[in-house]
Structure formats: C-alpha cells, structure tokens
Subunit: 494 residues, 2 copies
C-alpha cells in the first residue's frame, strides 16, 4: 500500500502518530504501487502485518497508556518553581485554562503553607470547574484539619519514606508514619473527601516498607496511592518494575510523580502507565522544584503517539500553546527553543533528504502531526544542507518551472552561497527567481544571484567558484528588484 | 549509619548520585544515631543491605551503563538544527571544546553536502584531536568516495529502512539497500577506516529486515551497527527489547541515536546501554532536526547517577557549561531555564520542607551534586512556601540568634508579607534583622518589617493582620537602614 500520493491528506488519514501506537497495518510493510518516482520492486505483503514488528505496542491488560488521568500540579509543584509567585487572579486564570484543556484534577498548594494559600484554595474550589480540585498536604492532622475545610474534592497526603528524608527531613520512623497515615486517612475519609497517600522519594525507600504501608492504606480505603521520584533518580525499567509490583499489592488507583533531574520524567510516566499506573502528575512546562517534573505538553507528545484517539478525544490540544504562554509569562521564563510541540524548532526540517521526504509525506520524519496541536511545520530550504528536491518544491511554490537539471544547477549555486554565510529564505527565493530569469536571458553569474553581499563575501565566492567549477560563467545581470533580507532566522518558512 | 552531620562533606563522601547507582549500603537502611534533632527509634539494620531494594541496579553482564562511549554530533546532527550555521573557525572551536571535554568521537556533516562541508571536514581532521573524527554519509558510493579522501578516522553510513523512507525518501528496496551497503562497507574498509552501518527510522522498520541486514554487515566486518529513532517515536522498553535482541545477533559494537520528539531521548539512551549498546549519539543542548536528540549535558546527568566514578573519571564535567554557552551563542538560542544541570533552576530549592532538608543534607533532595559540574545550589528563603527551619538557617548566616519560638514568629511575618507580593532575599534579610532589633527594643509592627511597601500593600497587610491574628502588636520603629530591593528574582541565593 502507498500511504500517500497526497501527503497531507494521507498524513491526516493515517493519523501520523497514530500509525505508530495503534497499528493500521502499514508498519513494517514495504510493498507499494503507483507512487511517482518510486522505484522499489513490489514484494509480497506480510499476511500477519500486526505481528510484523514485535516492538509495536500490543494489547496488555496491565497497560493504561490508552486510559490515564492527569493530575495537573502547576498550582502546587509549579508554585515551588524558583520564579513562581501566583496571586489569586493568576491562579484562577491558570485553573480555568487547565480545566478547559481537559485535565482531570488540579492540585493546589497546601492551605497550611500560608494564610493566602488557604484563601486561594477556597476561592478556586468555588469556581465550579469540571476538574476535581485537590490540595497537597503533609501527613499531619493539623494540615488535614485545615484542608478539609477548604471545599476541595480531594486531599493528596505525602510523607518522606527514604532513609534520607526520615533522618534529615521529618525525623520519624515507619511505625510513626503508618500510624499517622491511618489517622489522617480516616479523618479525611470521614469528611467524604477523596484521599491519596503517597510516599516521597519512593525510589530510595525500602521496598518492604513501601509495600507494607501501601498495603495498609489500601485496606483502609484510600482512593489512590502515590509513587514519587522526588529527586529524579529513577530509570524507566526501575519504574516499570516498581509499579508492576505495586499493582499486584494494592487494588486502588496508582498516581505517579516524576522529577526530571536526569531526563526521564516523561519516559518514566509512560513506563508507569505501561505497568498499570492510572494517574500522572504534570505541570505546565514542567515547572517545579529544581528543573521540574513531567511537563503537560511533553506528556501529550508522548501519549498522542501511543493512542491518538484517546488523547485527541479528551484534551483540547490546540489550547496547549496558549496555556504554556500564560504560565511562561506568569513565571517570567521563555519557552525553551526545543520545547515539545510548541518550541521554536519542534517541527523544523532542514537536511535535504529530510525536506525532500517531508514534502512527499510528512509521516516520514514526523511522528506527531503539528496540526493536531494547531501548529505548523517549517521546512528550511535556505542552507548548505538543502537538496534539489527541496529547492524544486520551493520553486514550484513560487510558480517557477524548470528542468530537473536546472533545479540541480540552481541548488548548487544556493549551496555554494550558503557555504559563505547564513542565507535567508528571501535570499533563496531571490536566487531561484534570478536563476530562472537569467536562464531566459541566457546569462548568469552566481554572485549576482545573491543580494546584499559584501565586497569581502564577493571575493570569497569568486575564489570558491574557481574551486568548484561552476558549470557556466555568464555575464552580469543586475537583478534590481531583488529584496534585501537581513536576518538569518528569516530563513524558515512554512 | 548517619550519612551527614556535616552535610556538604557527607554529600561529597557519599558521592550524592553515587548512593543511587552503585550502592554503598545506605540505600534502604533506616537506622541512625547521634544526629541532632533526629527522633526516630533505632531499628535493626538489614544484614543484606545490597538486597534491601530490588529496584537498585544490580550487576548485569549485558549492561554498559558503566562503560559507554559518546559520539558527539553537534557538528552533524546539530548543523541540521534550524538556526545552525557553523563556519570553519566556529567548527574548530566547538570540536576542540568537545575533545577537551573528553568525548570519544566527533561526527561531522557529510563532505558530500557542500564543498565547504568537505573542506571543513579536512581541516578538522588535521587538528590532531584525541577524539576520533567521523563523517556521516548516505549509503552511496559517490558519498563514500568523497568521505575516505577527507582524512576521517571513520565513516558513519546511514540508509532509511522503514516503509515510509523506502517509499518516500530514497525509493529503494531491501535487496538494493543490502547490496549497496556491502559495496560501501567493503570500499571504506579497504581504506583502513572505521565503518558504521545504521538503519534510519529503525523503530518503524521491519524487524526481520533489520536483523537480516545487521547480521550481514556484521559478518563482513563493520565496526558498529547503528539503531536510530529518527522520528522520536520509541519508548524505553521498546528500545531495551530491540537492542537486547540485536545484541544477540551481532558481535560488533552497537551505536544508538535517539530523537526527542516524545521526550524519551535520554531515557532511551539509558535503556539502550542497559541492553548492551556501546555508543550513544549526543549533541550539545540536544540541537538537531526538530527538537533534537539526546543532549550531552542531559546524558551526563543520567549517567553520573548510574556510575559517578566512570563519568567523573572520563569527562571534564566542569567544562559543560562553557561548551553549552559556546554552542547556544553560535546558534542564537538561550539555555532553557530548565536545562539539565546548567539551567537557571536546576539546583534551586524552594518549599520549606525541601529547604530545611537540603540544609541538613543535600542528598535529601538532590541526586546530583552541583559541585561535580562546578555549579552551585540555590535555596529560596523568600517566599510564602518558606519554613522556619529555612529562616533559622538564614538568620544564622546573618549571625542572628533567636529562640525557636521567635524564628517561628518571624517566619509567620515573612509568609504573611510574601502572600501580598513577591519578596526578595533582601526583603527577607531586612525582615529578619528588623524583627530581631525590634525584639530587643520590645516593639514591632509587621508592616514595618518589610521595606518599600506601597500604600496599597500596607492596607492589604493591615487587613491580613486582622485576619490572621498576629501575636503581638507593638509600636512603630522606623528601620532606616533597611536597603531597598526591587527585583523578585533576587530572592534566590546560595
């Protein structure tokens, strides 16, 4: 089968990311027919296409990658980000945006942290959002008493269980922790409020202690237990093993919270879901203590590849960028250039072979369809890494038709000029236009194809032309109408 | 055992991250003695401490997490980043910096990409670096002929093997790919140059095709085979499974290349090493096509947690920030605020319980010791999330001694003021100083503790004081010497 003679339509029909996670049978098949320029021999198609690649996800009763909930913690973990100071109007704005996006829960800073934190918590509970409102407290009756009075739908209780935290943070042992947990849980449950019990620093805690306390709190009826990689040390296979073990010990839901110090926060969330976790903590742009936690946008990028229908059906993905802009502005940071989905370069393609293939079918080099998030892809034509297929495509956009040999010659000129200095899309367009015009006039000289060259650059180019043997030397034609272009980063276009 | 009565010394002795990957026996033990303020009951120590947590890494003959090589591709993959234009002097500067850092290989753009790319390749080969120089070419004899003339130590050959790329990129079938690969490999080997053969888009390729061609090229003597997640779709457990399978099929080294579109590039590299891969491709800040690949710094963060001795012994970690600054400047991007290790917030601690524990022992909330990278940790005292232990510590730094009850009262004042607006470290210091001075004078009023308040803020605070019942109201004392502080982000300090 040929997934795309009409690239965009095919990409949408195949669902882009969709072709990876939930197979439509094209994965691994290499037969084809009728695609212009396609030269491969037709081979026998695989009668068991769904099994053609054992590394495709298969149905797994443990896995929740197509059925997970988000606990959005920008207003709790995110408030622990170095720059964060959210006043009540900003908290309300963020909470409403997250609710509109479709998150299942919104977690707020403990009402015991400060008086204003308590008042904010009460106000957000009164908004009547679809998302359930949680607050996050220490495992302590004083905090629990304050929390249940705020009007929250649920309380997330946490206490450190690693030797580090037992010694250097709260100084309590497991017996004390267990007894306090039971008291707090029963108290919160008596107010008909959802309750989660989480360890902190779970991956540096004693496994027997962990399973023991989770088993205890499960029996007394917590809604969720939580596993937290508080210091960001866990690796994906550790996460899978621990969650899978825990899945066999408790019957309640399993929430997970992953810090990103060692770059595994998204991957660990994914592996946790594969092992049977039900809830993932996120924050917008991942903001939180240190370099933060699983980012909402990054999790969307991961999960849309696993189950596009579920993610698109549940979350308003086209609002992601607005939410990120809102939070970035509130905490005074820039969106990282390489941010998932919304970053400057997330859908930029540059090398010639990439650009060529993307023009044929975006699924070749994109696992996520930018249109699913209201984003656009960009193809760099204007660099030394460009190729003649990309230039041909750009020329056609400019309604310029030449022979393939002429496109190739034009491309060589562009690459020679791009070797000297960064060139912009305007430069490239000018060169294509001038090249064609000069062809018609029967004359050209490479230097004249590039506008706004300095004398020094002209000299370098002249030297290069001697080196690389430009096919023909023709006389000067001043291209008076070629526009000037100044900035290298304009060399990016849709 | 008690890991730290002297926090910093203990953190260094324990090696911070070190306590996670390669156990020193403290993981999972919860016995202790003699730590001031520690109240837990002494429990029996576990005689099998190394087995106390099955989620610690154990010795595994497959794993190369403590024996891996880096193929640094900033000058190849990185040149495909949207903004990248490296002229020869910049390429030389970057290559020398990477060589000094200690990377094993430096990969360069194909000399077939443009004439200048070829000349640059030749010049970098002449530098006489310790790192081996590679260039990256299409699986094509034309490219191979150019590459072997440049003086490189090795050639990285790549060809797309997914149905997407076979149809929409090069248009060749597996028979053609295999035959060309054999021709190119034999040709490069005949020049006594290292050769790697890699598929492209490996995770959307037919497994049987992959194993077949890798087996073939292994038999004819390639130095490495490469697995590339070109579109960034792979998940950690897929990676582990594929690499482990491949490890049983080929005897040569295994190189891996992971894009970060779905946030798994670092985690996938780690799982690849666990499964027996030998080489990881990186670029500085991860720059590359779209949002890039496994970042050099992020990989260091991950690997120092797995084997601190290996990473510290092999790489000049304190030069990481300089290299990132060099490349960021060259491609005109900002270092992301949440960048691994070098980001603005990578070692910032804010919540009260975090700050308190970090002051006791940094390993409580840090899996990486910032000093290993020449970085510094920051503790936020100046926020509504602060706690009295953090304020006590800050007061002691200012050589101010009060009773615990007084620290707590002072902290309540700071939190009340931080509820009204962002406060800076200067604000906090001023409040602590004024609070103590007023105690001595027997008079205080909360509003006067905070300098530079507007009339509006004074009014809000007055209202708050009525709400929260500040213990004592005392008369005004103008704190004339309190410095003004303007910017909220000054509220961060070492």
């Amino acid at each position: 089968m040929c997934p795309s003679c009409e690239p965009e339509a095919a990409a949408n029909a195949n669902g882009n990311g969709h072709t990876n996670g939930t197979s439509n049978g094209t994965n691994g098949s290499n037969g084809t027919n009728g695609h212009p320029g396609f030269t491969a021999v037709q081979t026998k198609s695989n009668p068991h296409q769904h099994r053609s690649n054992p590394y495709q996800p298969v149905g797994d009763f443990l896995s929740n990658v197509n059925n997970f909930k988000i606990i959005e913690s920008t207003l709790r973990e995110g408030e622990q980000f170095a720059n964060a100071f959210f006043d009540l109007p900003k908290k309300i704005e963020i909470a409403k945006a997250l609710d509109d996006f479709g998150v299942d829960y919104i977690e707020l800073t403990s009402p015991a942290a400060s008086e204003q934190s308590r008042l904010d918590c009460e106000e957000i509970c009164k908004l009547g959002l679809k998302a359930k409102i949680l607050t996050h407290i220490r495992c302590h009756m004083d905090d629990a008493r304050i929390a249940v009075q705020t009007g929250v739908d649920g309380v997330d209780v946490v206490i450190g269980t690693s030797s580090y935290l037992m010694e250097h943070s709260h100084g309590k042992d497991m017996t004390y922790i267990t007894n306090t947990a039971i008291e707090v849980i029963n108290y919160v449950k008596s107010h008909n409020i959802e309750i989660r019990f989480s360890s902190e620093d779970s991956f540096r805690s004693n496994l027997v202690d962990l399973l023991s306390i989770y088993s205890t709190v499960d029996k007394i009826g917590v809604n969720r237990v939580g596993i937290a990689d508080t210091v960001g040390c866990a690796s994906p296979r550790q996460v899978y093993d621990l969650i899978r073990t825990l899945r066999g010990v408790v019957s309640c839901d399993i929430e997970t919270h992953f810090h990103n110090d060692t770059g595994c926060a998204i991957a660990n969330a994914y592996c946790a879901l594969e092992a049977g976790a039900t809830h993932i903590d996120t924050s917008v742009l991942g903001i939180g203590e240190r370099n933060g936690i699983t980012p909402l946008g990054g999790l969307m990028a991961r999960m849309i590849v696993a189950d596009r229908d579920y993610v698109i059906g549940k979350y308003k993905l086209h609002k992601l960028k607005d939410i990120e802009d809102l939070v970035a502005q509130a905490v005074e940071v820039n969106i990282p250039f390489n941010n998932y989905i919304t970053g400057y370069s997330a859908f930029s393609h540059k090398a010639g072979i990439h650009a060529k293939a993307i023009l044929n079918n975006p699924s070749t080099y994109e696992i996520i369809n930018p249109a699913d998030f209201g984003m656009t892809r960009y193809i760099h034509y204007a660099s030394r890494l460009t190729g003649w297929n990309a230039i041909k495509s750009r020329a056609n956009q400019l309604q310029i038709e030449m022979t393939d040999a002429q496109y190739k010659e034009c491309t060589e000129s562009i690459k020679a000029l791009a070797d000297i200095r960064p060139i912009t899309l305007d430069d490239t367009d000018s060169i294509i236009r001038a090249f064609q015009r000069n062809l018609k006039l029967g004359k050209t000289k490479t230097a004249d194809l590039l506008p706004n060259m300095t004398d020094e650059e002209q000299a370098v180019l002249a030297k290069k032309e001697r080196q690389i043997d430009i096919p023909e030397k023709r006389e000067l034609d001043i291209a008076a109408e070629i526009p000037l272009a100044k900035k290298a980063n304009q060399g990016v276009t849709a």
